[in-house]
Symmetry: C2
Subunit: 254 residues, 2 copies
Amino acid sequence: MSRIYAVGIGPGGQEYMTQEAFQVLKQVDIIAGYTVYVDLIRERYPDKAFFTTPMKKEIERCRWAVERAREGQSVAMICSGDAGVYGMAGLLFELAQQYDDMEVEVVSGITAAISGAAVLGAPIGHDFCLISLSDLLTPWELIEKRLRCAGEGDFAICLYNPRSKKRDDYLRKACDILLRYKAPETVCGWVRNIGREGEEYRVLTLGELGAEPIDMFTTVFIGSATTRVMNGRMITPRGYEKHEDTYFRRNDGE
Amino acid sequence: MSRIYAVGIGPGGQEYMTQEAFQVLKQVDIIAGYTVYVDLIRERYPDKAFFTTPMKKEIERCRWAVERAREGQSVAMICSGDAGVYGMAGLLFELAQQYDDMEVEVVSGITAAISGAAVLGAPIGHDFCLISLSDLLTPWELIEKRLRCAGEGDFAICLYNPRSKKRDDYLRKACDILLRYKAPETVCGWVRNIGREGEEYRVLTLGELGAEPIDMFTTVFIGSATTRVMNGRMITPRGYEKHEDTYFRRNDGE
């Protein structure tokens, strides 16, 4: 039985990796991944072989890694965030099933919806949807439909890939769709360079969000009807306060 | 400035905690939390003070912790999974804003949608919704509406709190709603005791899911129209294969 590891490294810094991920990377022979992510961790593993390919070369990268694993080498494919959320885990399973005896082991990581939420406060403290605005692999019509359904269901929403050079107006288009269902005052937020140098965030309204200077290193959060600003942070309450009015009033000084 | 930490410990085992979470818990004076979760980590920190309360005592627990932090003690409130996903982070922000100088720092953890997905394969490899079936704090009508919208948008769906003693038929009701939008053959899966002793999982269809013997320690996944079974695992592809037909065909032996 051959095995390949799909490892989520979280937002980048070693402190955000799980100890399981750290141990798996320490023990493998080869670490493969997208050039930018491998560069984030390369210095921590000076004795490893690395294999990197640029974006849009994911299949070649995964095929190469699966072939090395079949030869008996110990290989980890790293992904930023979690390998199972818009990561390489699914593709590795697809490639692995072409062989008799290839197993994929997914090692969890902190995806940007989680790490970005921690920076903003608690924007996804209740039911939420995660939607990617990238139409490289998904028809834009399906993305629009999911935005409409997420808006109609009053979900909190986390948007990945909110903008790129070729897709300059997708965030504005998404906001326009959501404004059919959500009030312009709906609390929103974004985080750039989560857990990395230059980390910044802003809390704002859905009415303002579409015009923000947001890039591909930014994760966007759109509140539900219950989302509030508290001390400058974005909070979607789970609902305890509704059931404990007396308790909260007493402590508000009433 | 006083500070309190909201720390996600992941599914339980130390290897699934981030190194940041491990360090924060090592450095605080007091670890507070739900009795069951504190018992998962108590042995790792023999020199700490612990404060635990049972379920439905979340406000008292958080209030107590915030008051200790105000007195200058170093306090971490732990949550299973991530503190920002149906956890205590939001409640701590609500309580902290009643004081002038209280800061909440959220330390990310692996939520069950991520850790459960790793066990099943890659069920949330594309856009997905996270919905809790608990109506303790949320009206059932809103839960139903979100299920309908998630179904209509063809999201992959992860369900938290799929069943409890008092809510014996909620998973069946949820499946009945989703069957209006999704085919009975839709690939589904569940994972029980993720990352703990007795971990088990099953891959099955939406038509079968409602009758499964699922408890409150189980996380449920419902596929989108593209979700497939591969080598017994549940995979929602990101869509690479559609764009690389030649590549995949060649490697299928054609």
